[in-house]
Subunit: 341 residues, 2 copies
C-alpha cells in the first residue's frame, strides 16, 4: 500500500498531537514537521527521528542552537501530498499563498477564518462531501464537539433548534499568560457567539444560537446544550443513538463518581493516556433530560485533543476517496477511542 | 412612628449586611444581634454600638476573650417583634423551636429547606401574599435573581417556559477552604438542578428547568437565561420592562466596557460601594436576544448582597401591612439601588 505523504506545519498543541496520530496510522507517513523556533519541541522532533524543516530565514537561528534542520519549508512542500497547517490561529492564512504555489492540499485548523479553505470539515457530518477538496478546515474544538453531538442525533431525530451555553476554559495547561484568574467573562458580550455561525459553516440549515463564557480553568470546556426536535423523543432512544459512535463517551456519574472536568482528567491520567488526552466528546449520561420534544444535556470537551481524529479523517478525505464509515472506524481503532472507565 | 423591633441571629455574609440595611431604615430598629463566636465581628458589633447577645452556654467563652455580651439569646427574643435568622444554611431549622416558643416572627434565608417557613418570599413576585405570615424564607441568591427577572417580565409578557444555565461562583471571597481551583463541576450531575424547584416555591405554575455548574471564581454567579413566551416579543419592549425596577441594572457593554464579573466588581469599588456590594441584579443589555417568542440574556448575581433588599421588604411584610409598591420603593431609595455607572 502506498502511504499518504503528510507534512505538518506547526508543532504546538494541535500539531504535536496530530503528528503522533499520523505516525500511528498504517496508511500515512509523516515526512516532515516545520517549526519556526528552536525550543525543546524542536529537539524532541529530532530525537524522535522525525525530519525537521524550518523557514529559510530561520536556518541560522536553529544551527546556532545546535539543531541541524533537515531542510527548509519549501523542500518539504515539494515532497508532501498534503500539509496539516497547525500554525497559531490566523497564521495559517498567511501560508496559504505558498501552499497554493506548491499545489499542495491543505488542512487548516478552526482558528482560521472559514473562507481560508474550500470547506469546513467535521467527520460525523460531512466527510463524504469533503472528499477530494483542495483544502479543508477542521473546525475548532467547541464546534467539533457541537457537531459530533448534533450530527449523531440528527441521523435519528429531526432537530428543530439548538440553544447551547458554552463555558470555556480560560487557558490551556501550558499557557501561563492568559486569564481570567477570578472572573466570568462574556465571550462575546452578545448573543449569539461565533460558535453558532461556525457550526453553520458545516450545517447551514440549522437553527442554532450559542452564548459563551470564559471561566478560570484550564482542563476542559463544558457545554449546556438544549435541543428542540420536530417530534417527541425518548430518553432511552437518545442514549442508544449516542452510543452509536466511539467519538462520544457516555459517562455515568453514579457508577463512576465523575462529576467534574477535574475528575474526567484524573481518570484519563489513571488510564495512562498520554498527556491525559480525551479526543472523545464526553457526555454526562445522568444529565440527559428528555421530555416531549425537548432534550437537555451537559458535555465536556478536551480542547487540546478533540480535533485530532477529525484531522486524521480529513487527511484521508482530501487525498484519497475513503469509505466514510471505514475511515472513521480505522481512526477510532488506531487511536483507541471509546475505551474509558 | 413606632419602629419595628428587629433582632438578627447570625452575623455572617448575610447577617452583617442585613444588619447595616436595617440600621439605615427609618421604620426599623435593630435591637440586637446574636453571635456564637467571639471573633473580630463580635468586637465590631460592640464597637458599632449594637447590642450583642449570645447563646447561654457561650457566655463564658465571650467573657474570657474580654467581650461583655448585653445578654443571652432568650432576652433578645423576648423583646423583638421579628428575628432575621441569618445562621448558616440548615442551622436556622434548629432554632425554629425556640423562635416558636417565644412566639416571634421569623425570616429565614434560602439556605434552609422550603418547609422551614410558612412561605418562600420574593419581593417582586409575592410580597402581597406574604403580608402577616408567621414566618418567611427569603429564597437564595440564585433564586432571588431568577425570580426578579421572571416576575418583572411576567407582568408584561406571558411566560411559557424558562430554561436557565447557572454558572456559580465556587466560594465567597472570604471562604478559603472551598473549591474547585481548576475544574468545572456539575452541581448537581443531573437536570434539573434544585434551583428550578426553588423558583417554584414562589411560582408553582411556572414551567422551569435549570442546570448548574460551579466554576473557580469568587465574585458573582452568572446565568444564561432562555425564555419562551406564549406570544412574540419585541427587544425594545423587553428592555423597557426591565427598566421598570431599580432591582435590575441594565448594563451596556459598549458604553461601559464591562464584559465580565471582575469588571462589574471593579466598578462597584470605584463607586465606593461598601464591600463592593451589588444588591441589584445585573443584566448585560447587549446580550438581550429577542426573536419571535424567544428571549435569551445573560445576568450576573452578587451572591453576598442580592438578598439584602428582599430581607428588608420581608421584615415589613411579616410584621405590618405595607403597600407593596411603596415598601419596595423605600427600600430601594434608602439602599441607593439603581445608581450605577
Amino acid at each position: 500500500m502506498t502511504k499518504i505523504k503528510v507534512a505538518i506545519n506547526g508543532f504546538g498543541t494541535i500539531g504535536k498531537r496530530v503528528a503522533e496520530a499520523i505516525q500511528l496510522m498504517p496508511d500515512m507517513e509523516l515526512i516532515g514537521v516545520v517549526k519556526t523556533r528552536p525550543d525543546y519541541l524542536a529537539r524532541m522532533i529530532v530525537r524522535n527521528g522525525l525530519k525537521l524543516y524550518v523557514p529559510e530565514d530561520k536556518l541560522n537561528t536553529f544551527k546556532e542552537t545546535g539543531i541541524e534542520p533537515h531542510g527548509v519549508l519549501q523542500d518539504l512542500l515539494r515532497e508532501a501530498e498534503v500539509v496539516v497547517d497547525a500554525t497559531p490561529g490566523g497564521v495559517g492564512a498567511k501560508y496559504k499563498e505558498i501552499y497554493e504555489k506548491y499545489g499542495i492540499k491543505v488542512i487548516f485548523q478552526g482558528g482560521e477564518k472559514p473562507f481560508v479553505a474550500k470547506k469546513s470539515f467535521s467527520s460525523l457530518c460531512n466527510l463524504e462531501e469533503c472528499i477530494g477538496s483542495e483544502s479543508l478546515r477542521v473546525v475548532s474544538c467547541n464546534t467539533t464537539a457541537l457537531l459530533r453531538l448534533i450530527c449523531t442525533l440528527n441521523k435519528y431525530f429531526k432537530i428543530k433548534k439548538v440553544r447551547a451555553t458554552i463555558i470555556r476554559r480560560a487557558a490551556d495547561p501550558k499557557e501561563d499568560k492568559r486569564g481570567p484568574v477570578d472572573s466570568i467573562k462574556l465571550n462575546p458580550a452578545e448573543i449569539p457567539s461565533h460558535h453558532a455561525e461556525d457550526v453553520k459553516t458545516v450545517l447551514p440549515w440549522l437553527d442554532i444560537l450559542t452564548t459563551a463564557f470564559i471561566v478560570p480553568t484550564t482542563l476542559m470546556h463544558v457545554h449546556s446544550v438544549y435541543i428542540v426536535f420536530e417530534n417527541n423523543v425518548d430518553r432511552k432512544d437518545i442514549i442508544e443513538s449516542l452510543r452509536s459512535t466511539k467519538r462520544i463517551l457516555l459517562l455515568d456519574t453514579e457508577s463512576t463518581g465523575i462529576d467534574s472536568t477535574a475528575k474526567i482528567i484524573e481518570a484519563a491520567r489513571d488510564l495512562g493516556r498520554k498527556r491525559h488526552d480525551i479526543p472523545e466528546l464526553v457526555i454526562w449520561k445522568n444529565t440527559i433530560y428528555a421530555h416531549e420534544n425537548e432534550l437537555w444535556l451537559v458535555q465536556a470537551v478536551h480542547q487540546e485533543s478533540i480535533v485530532v481524529p477529525e484531522n486524521i479523517d480529513a487527511i484521508r478525505a482530501i487525498v484519497s476517496s475513503p469509505n466514510v464509515h471505514k475511515t472513521i472506524e480505522l481512526t477510532d481503532e488506531i487511536l483507541g477511542l471509546g475505551k474509558f472507565i
